[in-house]
């Protein structure tokens, strides 16, 4: 049936909307849908030419049948287009979400699996369970992005969007626009290190990222490290 492939794509999009990362671009599905649209287009052209050529020969009923066929064909094409747009838009929105987090995308999908502790439990879709859970607002957020999963156009989009927000942010240089969207409570917070990293320099001295150690640091200094999953707020 026409439209079945598009349905698959929508199901994939529905699944994607609950994930904290962007799954592989469905190249084959998209290609199939495009082919279907092309077929439908040929059909509709044939139908309309037939209608014109045989206008006089066809009975009224046959004309109606022809018209109905044409209508359904056109509708199916439009529906396919909408499905494609919806799929792409969802992916674009996820890319946008990710871009605001200020994290570098993962280059190879094989490394770094399960780095974000809370991200993988995203489909529970439970907003803000406790205040202490500092990662709660990122539950349905795109916290991971693997460049391998994007198609070429999307990679280009990611890059241009990053440039775009950089440009926008530069006009408000005093405001950290990509910071945490939870209201701030204290300037200084306790953090625990979740994974090893290098030395971190702050205004108040430096500290080393060694797993399971704890620090008392200025929040604005470590915001990025929390978003990147190096630190956890206690």
């Amino acid at each position: 049936m026409y439209g079945d492939i598009a349905n698959k794509l929508i199901l994939d999009a529905k699944r994607t909307s609950n994930l904290s990362e962007l799954p592989l671009y469905q190249t084959d599905l998209v290609k199939d849908i495009l082919k279907e649209i092309q077929d439908l287009n040929n059909d509709s052209e044939y139908l309309s030419s037939e209608k014109e050529l045989q206008q006089d020969n066809l009975s009224e009923e046959q004309l109606k049948i022809n018209q109905c066929q044409l209508f359904v064909t056109l509708l199916s094409m439009r529906r396919n287009k909408r499905c494609l747009l919806a799929y792409q838009r969802l992916r674009a929105e996820k890319i946008v979400e990710f871009s605001w987090l200020n994290i570098d995308p993962i280059l190879e999908s094989s490394t770094n699996n399960g780095t974000t502790s809370n991200g993988s439990t995203a489909n529970t879709a439970k907003p803000k369970s406790t205040i202490h859970d500092s990662n709660s607002i990122y539950n349905n957020y795109t916290t991971q992005l693997s460049l391998d999963n994007l198609n070429h156009a999307e990679q280009e989009y990611l890059k241009s969007y990053q440039d775009l927000i950089l440009n926008y942010k530069s006009k408000f240089y005093d405001i950290d626009l990509s910071g945490d969207l939870e209201p701030p409570t204290n300037i200084f917070i306790d953090v625990r290190v979740l994974k090893d990293g290098g030395e971190v320099q702050t205004e108040y001295g430096s500290f080393n990222l060694i797993k399971d150690s704890q620090f008392y640091v200025r929040k604005s200094d470590v915001d990025r490290l929390i978003q990147q999953g190096y630190l956890e707020e206690l």
């Binding site: 280009e156 775009l164 408000f172 626009l177």
Partner: protein
């Protein structure tokens, strides 16, 4: 020195500077109102240019002030000139900066989310020159640029491979328009802050009396103009 002394000291310094602090208070409240209005309204509200300019200016001043004070504190730390609550004062200023920072951030990000959601709608609106301008120049640049790159994405991904009759993004033919409009008939919670009692005309022709500090649920469309006037705030 205990906490009472510190508070007392604040009061004395606050009194000498009363006028300035009251302005400061208003600015803060205005910013909160603007932020909440923006968050709760279904459509984009006009950009609060004056308010934002003022806040940004002050933030930048305070930021500089803080830097200077830190430097001053470090230079004089060893000689004992710096009193012990100097650090505390700086902390308070810093907390305040963070707070403003957060409000502005939320305000601007909320606007961007709305802009992205109904991009074509707002682009069309900016084309009509006689309408009031909701977007700041920065946002206008953002919306146009973003629309450009997202269109490019659609085109490269699949639109260019489709029959020409289907390549439009703002197709209004057929049953459903492809341009998404904000739903201005959405119900919103409002609170009246106007001192004079007023009446609001509802859709069915009835008048709804609005009392000061009263909380109501009405369609956004009905009270839209009162938000601009400042008689009603969204909650």
């Amino acid at each position: 020195m205990d906490i009472d002394d510190i508070l007392e000291e604040f009061e004395t310094t606050a009194k000498t500077d009363l006028k300035k602090t009251s302005v400061h208070d208003n600015l803060y409240n205005d910013l909160i109102t603007a932020m909440i209005n923006e968050r709760m309204a279904p459509e984009l509200l006009p950009y609060k240019k004056e308010l934002l300019d003022e806040v940004l200016q002050r933030l930048s001043n305070q930021q500089q002030n803080l830097l200077d004070s830190h430097e001053y504190g470090e230079v004089n730390a060893s000689s004992g000139v710096v009193s012990s609550d100097f650090k505390l004062q700086l902390m308070i200023i810093e907390t305040d900066i963070e707070r403003y920072n957060y409000l502005v951030r939320l305000y601007l990000r909320t606007r961007l989310t709305k802009i992205d959601k109904h991009a074509i709608h707002y682009i069309n609106e900016t084309m009509e020159s006689d309408k009031e301008i909701r977007l700041s120049p920065e946002e206008e640049e953002y919306i146009n640029q973003h629309f450009k790159i997202i269109t490019k994405l659609y085109n490269n991904s699949f639109l260019k491979k489709m029959p020409p009759s289907l390549t439009l993004l703002d197709d209004t033919a057929g049953e459903e328009s492809m341009i998404e409009h904000p739903d201005i008939n959405k119900h919103v919670f409002i609170k009246s802050i106007s001192t004079t009692p007023m009446y609001i005309k509802l859709d069915d022709g009835e008048d709804l009396p609005i009392e000061k500090d009263g909380i109501y649920v009405v369609k956004y469309n009905v009270i839209k103009k009162y938000i601009d006037l400042g008689d009603i705030v969204l909650i």
